[in-house]
Symmetry: D2
Subunit: 141 residues, 4 copies
């Protein structure tokens, strides 16, 4: 079971990422998983009118961060050490993006997870990400 509620996590993210709502909103948090939604607006667009790759990477990164902190508590200094993303199809124009993270490993020093990204209203995968976070030896809280 996660050690933080969705409300606690959203408050934590808002505090630590003042510009964070542009990265997405946490919509689900469970045992080793998290779900976020990225409301699409002009700031995320790239040529062609679809959400930019960096916006999706940011979404995946925060989704993994939320899933991980849901398991180990608010360790603000956990940092991404590796991110690998495959872009597979264009997002639906005008649709929000949905991200789901599943943690594959939560070790003492490293955590590994994957994040699938789709457009709301579509089953087609837009992007897939695997991420590694390094967990600091001394935890806060």
């Amino acid at each position: 079971m996660p050690v933080m509620s969705i409300q606690e996590m959203n408050s934590f993210l808002a505090e630590h990422f003042p510009q964070g709502e542009k990265f997405g909103v946490l919509t689900g948090l469970g045992d080793a998983w998290a779900e976020m939604k990225l409301p699409v607006d002009d700031e995320h667009l790239r040529p062609g009118g679809t959400v930019s790759g960096p916006s999706m990477m940011a979404l995946a990164d925060v989704c993994m961060y939320a899933a991980l902190l849901g398991q180990i508590g608010p360790v603000a200094l956990a940092v991404t050490t590796n991110l690998n993303i495959n872009f597979m199809s264009k997002p639906l124009p005008g649709s929000d993006l949905l991200a789901k993270c599943s943690l594959m490993k939560v070790g003492k020093r490293l955590a590994v997870g994957e994040v699938w990204i789709r457009s709301e209203g579509s089953d087609e995968l837009v992007a897939h990400t695997t991420l590694t976070y390094s967990i600091p030896a001394e935890r806060m809280g």
Copy 2:
């Protein structure tokens, strides 16, 4: 030799990424390479006061895009299919970031390059990225 000058490429990027200057400024363009600088401002910061990972991914992505288009001309629809990034050290607080892309392959359908990112005034690597772009069958221009 690149088929576009720095001035032409900066104009092209500005046209196609209206929000693009926040991704960085092209400072060098040569045969299968490009260099960019990301002036640091509040928009790029993450907890701890350093540039966020997604800002670095965006910088690497645009740097590869510029290096590639420098070789093949303004193919706006070339798209990233894979990006892998390793974060190695914190950027120097308050320093701009410098990115250098070297293309390793420019094929008919795929191009592969790598991008090293450092803080201005430091030799330490902040991040390293490898990227694959898919080149559309029909080119513009």
Copy 3:
């Protein structure tokens, strides 16, 4: 539905990889997925008595190859263009390895899949791989 049966695929793999049984045996083949088993023997061991990383990469690579060819038919010249693997825990000593591939995209030119590897008799993930295959313009068969 896959266009080849397990028997046809195992025959195809045996023909094209004469040294292939050391890469594993196909145990399941379905719609956009495949399962393989790698019987552990001395040839795969690394210091510490566990299966080597390269043996797992080979297993993942062949598992994706089987899943892909199950969808598009025996295109022997499909080639891996990118492989990303995270090693998460040591395999159980003396246990065979099980791999499951799920295809995430099968496009005209590129296919992307992921492969999870576990030890038989354990739920813990040993490794996770994402792979991209390039599909040649002209298909055999």
Copy 4:
């Protein structure tokens, strides 16, 4: 300066990888770099008569291992946690493969390096790999 000579490292690799010569031979070892050669024989071939992808991944993995141990000493239990490889062109048929590793970071817990692979007698890149090794808290030797 590396803390081990080429001779010491080759002895160490031969001891810890009894099947190791098939992974390649160390031909150079310097400050944060290593070079290996993979003599091509039938065992490494895949359909089409070229060296298999897994053989190249094994070559890159051992080359990074040698470069890292050259810096930190014979820590046999350093393990690969992430490997990302892009395959860019076919090796020359009948030519040995040459690998060069450059370490980008050697931290207390993680080391990151990249490995370029070419065919002997050609400048074209065959493959490029980035790797992360986890360094155990307690070192041997």
